[in-house]
Symmetry: C2
Subunit: 235 residues, 2 copies
């Protein structure tokens, strides 16, 4: 790697050409109280102060985009992400009145216990239910909708790829409730059981302390958390 700045025939470097600003906005999803929720951020200073938005920040010069996403979560909301995935670039020229800002939207999905309750709002029908009843700033409503689609596709055929269940061992009912929260619709017990069984490992244990027949405990198959999401952009 050379430290010299590359210049073309007319002596210009890349920095001499006009460039848009590049931001990364992150829809950090989780499941709380049996519902999908998204982490939002009250803009305190600078542009659009007072409005609710997804956490976002501008890309640093030598940073990978996924790292930008993690940094946005840390700096703007004080939370850690898990594995941000790219959703796409939002490029409407008028999406930010400050000037030309491209947003590389990201999504992540983490257990709720790592997140401050105060910043989470429920997602109903693909929309964020903000305290003031309004909408997310910029085009973040569009980003959220795409993020929800992403999460639903990710969970449709896999038990728990992002490790949202609190314990290592869980019953099929625990898993069913998680999936109902992500999908936003009710599922059939028997069909669901058969669909998930291939991705689970039986354990000798049984659930305790409830009414009715104790349920068998399962754990995720090795590698379930590492399954690639084939629909998401990845370099």
């Amino acid at each position: 790697m050379s430290t010299m700045v590359w210049r073309d025939d007319s002596g210009r470097s890349l920095a001499d050409w006009p460039r848009p600003s590049v931001a990364v906005d992150v829809a950090l999803l989780t499941v709380r109280d049996g519902r999908l929720a998204v982490l939002v951020h009250r803009r305190t200073d600078g542009y659009a102060a007072g409005a609710w938005s997804l956490p976002g920040t501008f890309v640093h010069e030598h940073e990978r985009l996924a790292d930008t996403a993690l940094r946005a979560l840390r700096d703007k909301a004080g939370v850690g992400g898990q594995r941000p995935e790219q959703l796409g670039v939002f490029d409407d020229p008028r999406r930010d009145a400050r000037g030309r800002v491209l947003s590389v939207a990201h999504v992540d999905l983490v257990p709720a216990d790592r997140l401050p309750d105060a910043l989470l709002v429920p997602v109903v029908d693909g929309r964020a239910e903000l305290p003031d009843g309004g909408d997310l700033a910029f085009d973040h409503g569009l980003i959220l909708r795409r993020a929800v689609d992403w999460a639903r596709a990710l969970y449709r055929d896999r038990p728990d790829p992002r490790g949202l269940l609190p314990a290592v061992e869980f019953t099929l009912l625990d898993l069913l409730r998680l999936h109902e929260a992500v999908l936003g619709e009710e599922l059939q017990k028997d069909t669901f059981r058969r669909r998930m069984l291939a991705g689970l490992v039986e354990t000798p244990g049984r659930s305790r302390g409830s009414v009715g027949k104790p349920a068998r405990l399962f754990r995720r198959i090795d590698g379930d958390g590492d399954v690639r999401d084939l629909t998401a952009p990845r370099e």
Copy 2:
């Protein structure tokens, strides 16, 4: 819209922050001689002269990315695109030795008769067969692979969403050969017929001038060309 430049509390505008360069690279695919082919571009001047690459260019300040893609095709290869779709951002910090360049990869798929034969190379197994037997510059090999996956997903359940067939009316065998070219594998006639029939309109016409029973002629159902690709980024 104000023409004033926005400034934050410390008087800085967006342009005062470091920004990466943003390029758009386009995998323009077509079908020629019963095979998928990609349009490549011999870099003549500037960086990496002499190497083969996908056509690409830097984003202008107030341009939509899809327009950047069309401009790259026009300026670098003198061809027109149809409807570029975003594949994702390639952000490896070392993907371009000149400096930090993000590439928003795009893909497009157009009939071969609009393209100069000299710039087309066959795509075999997701790789471009370049005249010198080498590889595409930068990470364009990765972009091409993703572009091929995109095209295959687009054609799997639809007759001819990008209008690659030369005539308005065509037989099912014409369509079958097109699909075999895109998918890179042979298909069963009867299964294929039944899968496609829902998206086609029968015409009274029959094929002429061949051996065997003349085949019925079909045309695309209205709107087939406008089918949204739900997997591709879209704002």
